[in-house]
Amino acid sequence: MESSKTAVKAEVGQGDGKGQGVSVRLSNVKRAYGSVLALAGLSLEAEPGEFVVMLGPSGCGKTTALRALAGLEPIDSGSVYVGGKDVTRLPASKRSIGMVFQSYSLFPNMTSLSNVEFGLKVRGISATERRRRAHEMLEMVGLIEQADRYPHQMSGGQQQRVALARALAIKPEVLLLDEPLSALDAKVRANLREQIKQLQREVGITTFFVTHDQEEALSLADRIAVMNNGNLEQFGTPTEVYSAPATDFVASFVGNVNVFEGTLLDKETAVVPGVGNFPYRQSEETPTPGGSAEILVRPEAMTIRADSDGEYLVTDVTFLGSNVKIKVERGDTSFIVIQGSSDLDIVSLGSKVSLEAKGSAILVRRKAHL
């Protein structure tokens, strides 16, 4: 059975492993709904076999971009290339792009098996061959036992796995997933997320995954495309997006961030009075050294210590398992620090503490930016 599984994986995505998929390029794609600009000239390119996550708040244009790529959304201008071929004018049914939708999209009148067979039936593949292939796809997503079940007889997670098998059965060049986990409960969501990632790695198909969940994006992506107001704010690896956000929006949207007022010692070091020195990298928004600046620091780039003379007051402590999230205040400003759970005993609500730098600043910008 393992050999058939490998064979299926080799067929899907036109290859047998990562790097064998096709490249995808969106070039200056624009789409407006009346006066609202959903895509303001979006350009990005995914490498063959890459797992790209499109991340952003509701209404940022990520789903529109995905639908434009699928051919389900007309675009006002720009071009879409799949495997180097211009598919801008091709209808969705001719694009060889598999898609899993946010809402359950299995055909209610068909069993799991028939759903997976559907795309093959459309292509005129013989009944024997499509049945064999559908069985293999269901086996790949671990639902061979559910082959004869109708969608209403399956859980949400199972339905989405069948939808994934259905999308992959047609051997698409690109796989698109439009918030496929959003309707599922936390545990199923986490399991299915892992399964999708593993499948994508094994199959090697170029994949676009839309989500507004930053944790999902950070854990799944080879690269994350952070979008806002129809624009691409940053396109980089999870580490780059988290540790070196290109814009204010990315810094504040992905993860928690603390904003301190401080000064720039030189082109590499920022100083926050009472906290310490933070190494930083230059960006377009960085003011000249010597002047004052706003220094953006992740919660885990600081450590906290009990200090009866400290300037910060502990106002909230949230136990997160291996970590503790501590909220402190100085005047009207709040800050968040993430500590290991072993440090839980050094803080208590209402106690005074001081903060100490232990990592880098993610962004340094001119004052009064926000």
Binding site: A70, L72, P91, S93, S105, P108, F118, G119, V122, I170
Partner: protein, 294 residues
């Protein structure tokens, strides 16, 4: 807490029980009255059709009717018109309703209002309008039952459109169509393989409603001088009471048999959500049959 467990039930509980009992009795009374309202005329009609003005039981009204060639020719004519109406209605409504839900959900209210117009405009006005406006149409339409079928498509809209609209609304049309497209299917294949099977209950409801409407419609057919099943029923009723009642009961069978078949099919194949179409069809058909019997 222990004292609460052992405490007597609050007095409001007894009051609630009484309210429930009263509600149950009220429901039974309402159901009984409604049942009698429908059953008494049917049973009385059946009795009269077998006895007439004599005391003994006789099947003469039925045998006379069934051996009347005009009975069969009018039934055949109405069935032909009904079939044409059903086909035209399905051809017009299925793509329209799907399109509205898929591409233009904002105009659903407008469509609903339009579909209700035949209820607001009297049939006589519509018929006169048709005669005046389309009098110049070729005889193949104007002088034949085709014009009746065309008119019935419009007149039955309040029932047919809403039935189909409810069925389409129960589906996530946009997602299903787009899923089909992403799998490489053309719109025709998506309609045939995905949408129609899922709209079965609504489509069957439309078939039954449109057909029943055609079988029972009198005013327009009479104004356009067609002797349809309903028109012939009225003609017979003017001179032969027993035959007219027997006629009504046969018409009742002609409409109730397909309705029963559809209802059985619905309840076997569809979930509770889809039964709405069947129930609506049943309610409408009952009204049609009562009209016909009158």
């Amino acid at each position: 807490m222990a004292s609460v467990i052992g405490a007597p039930a609050p007095s409001t509980g007894g009051g609630g029980g009484n309210v429930l009992k009263v509600g149950k009795v009220f429901r039974s009374v309402v159901l009984g009255v409604v049942g009698l309202f429908f059953l008494v005329p049917i049973v009385s009609s059946a009795r009269f059709s077998f006895t007439g003005t004599t005391r003994g039981i006789s099947f003469s009204a039925y045998s006379k009717l069934l051996s009347d060639p005009q009975f069969w020719s009018t039934l055949f004519l109405s069935a032909k018109i009904g079939l044409g109406t059903v086909l035209l209605t399905l051809l017009l409504l299925i793509p329209t309703t799907v399109w509205v839900h898929w591409k233009a959900p904002k105009i659903r209210r407008v469509m609903e209002a339009l579909s209700l117009l035949p209820l607001v405009i009297p049939s006589v006005v519509i018929t006169l309008g048709v005669i005046t406006s389309f009098g110049s149409l070729p005889n193949i339409i104007m002088g034949t039952p085709v014009i009746l079928a065309l008119e019935y498509v419009i007149l039955a809209l309040p029932y047919t459109y809403r039935t189909l609209d409810s069925a389409v609304q129960a589906l996530d049309i946009k997602t299903l169509v787009e899923a089909g497209q992403s799998l490489g299917a053309s719109l025709r294949k998506i309609l045939w393989w995905v949408l129609l099977p899922n709209l079965r209950s609504g489509v069957l409801g439309v078939v039954v409603l449109a057909f029943a409407f055609c079988l029972g419609e009198f005013a327009v057919a009479s104004l356009l001088s067609f002797t349809t099943f309903a028109v012939y029923l009225v003609q017979i009723g003017q001179t032969q009471a027993s035959e007219a009642i027997a006629f009504s009961l046969i018409a009742l069978l002609f409409t109730w048999i397909p309705l029963s078949v559809v209802t059985v099919v619905f309840s076997r194949r569809s979930g509770r959500r889809k039964k709405g179409g069947a129930l609506l069809a049943a309610a409408q058909l009952t009204s049609e049959v009562v009209d016909l019997a009158e």
